[in-house]
Symmetry: C2
Subunit: 156 residues, 2 copies
DNA sequence: CTAGAATTGATAATGAGTCTCATTCCTGCA
DNA sequence: TGCAGGAATGAGACTCATTATCAATTCTAG
């Protein structure tokens, strides 16, 4: 996890396809896909793991902190980025599920790191079914669910 | 949810049994189960739903904010209380699972409220099985998992 | 080219949660 | 019962992640 060179499995084509997708999403909602926003998104795409704001600014030091926070917020509200509250000092950010696929998190209680994991579809299906029942029973309308594991990562 | 009179399903016997249980847990770890701590726990037991610090202080105004935060922290570290990061301004607190049973949360994205729900054991079992596989595969050692629904509550 | 709106970035402000410290309260022991 | 030493308390100061402000800059439609 200290390995800086770790990158998500994104080749150049997928990357620019994502940019295009995000760009039109922003435009639709009356926002511009500016340089700063692209760089923000690109940092997240290249890292391929949830990042805190300090992580992001360190990865791309030309990003101003205040703008980064503001743009993160815009992107979250546009459904491009998802904010994860892991309990540490900082929030984590990652590409939203429409872009990254549905997945879950391994949250290390020692070092605070977060890693993505995918569950097999059988489980997801059962969970969904169960969640539908809950919704019907309680009148709650679910938008999404989060199933995260809290424990200790392999390094800790 | 604005209903102040809502109370968890705890009768007086269960309540003092819980107090005894918690008291010995604290004593074991070299802490005292003082008045302030008992009142803190009692507020959570009576409400029966996750509460923020302002909720708690409002429910029992003789609790000092700084002491409440400090004691909440002690109780969390002793495994009596669990902290929930729902994404709003405040953390939520509730009795820990050994006392309240394993359950999940309905988190309303409009009003920020949190409600407890129990899933059927079939799902829990499958989830556990799946989580074991994940652990084996990734080297992550899970302590617990959180499966929460994000959406809109019946009132919103 | 230009007006109006969106964006930027430096900086100030906000506020949840934590820390400090003098005082008070317990608990074990003589 | 009295006492010493540690634990707990509460008021207030403080930290620091995040947000708000605002003047300057950049886009974009016309």
């Amino acid at each position: 996890m200290t390995e800086q060179s770790r990158q998500g499995a994104v080749d150049k084509d997928l990357l620019s396809e994502l940019h295009a997708q995000i760009g039109s999403k922003l435009t639709q909602q009356g926002h511009r896909y500016t340089n700063g926003r692209q760089e923000l998104v690109e940092a997240l795409m290249l890292t391929g793991q949830p990042m805190t704001l300090p992580d992001i600014v360190e990865a791309d030091p030309k990003l101003a902190q205040s703008s980064a926070y503001r743009n993160l917020d815009v992107l979250v509200r546009c459904g491009v980025i998802r904010r994860i509250n892991a309990g540490g000092d900082h929030s984590y950010f990652e590409l939203a599920e429409p872009l990254l696929g549905h997945h879950h998190h391994l949250i290390c209680m020692s070092c605070g790191s977060i890693e993505d994991v995918h569950f097999d579809s059988e489980i997801e299906h059962l969970v969904d079914k169960s969640l539908s029942e809950i919704s019907a029973r309680t009148g709650f309308t679910p938008t999404t669910h989060s199933l995260d594991l809290h424990g200790h990562c392999a390094d800790c």
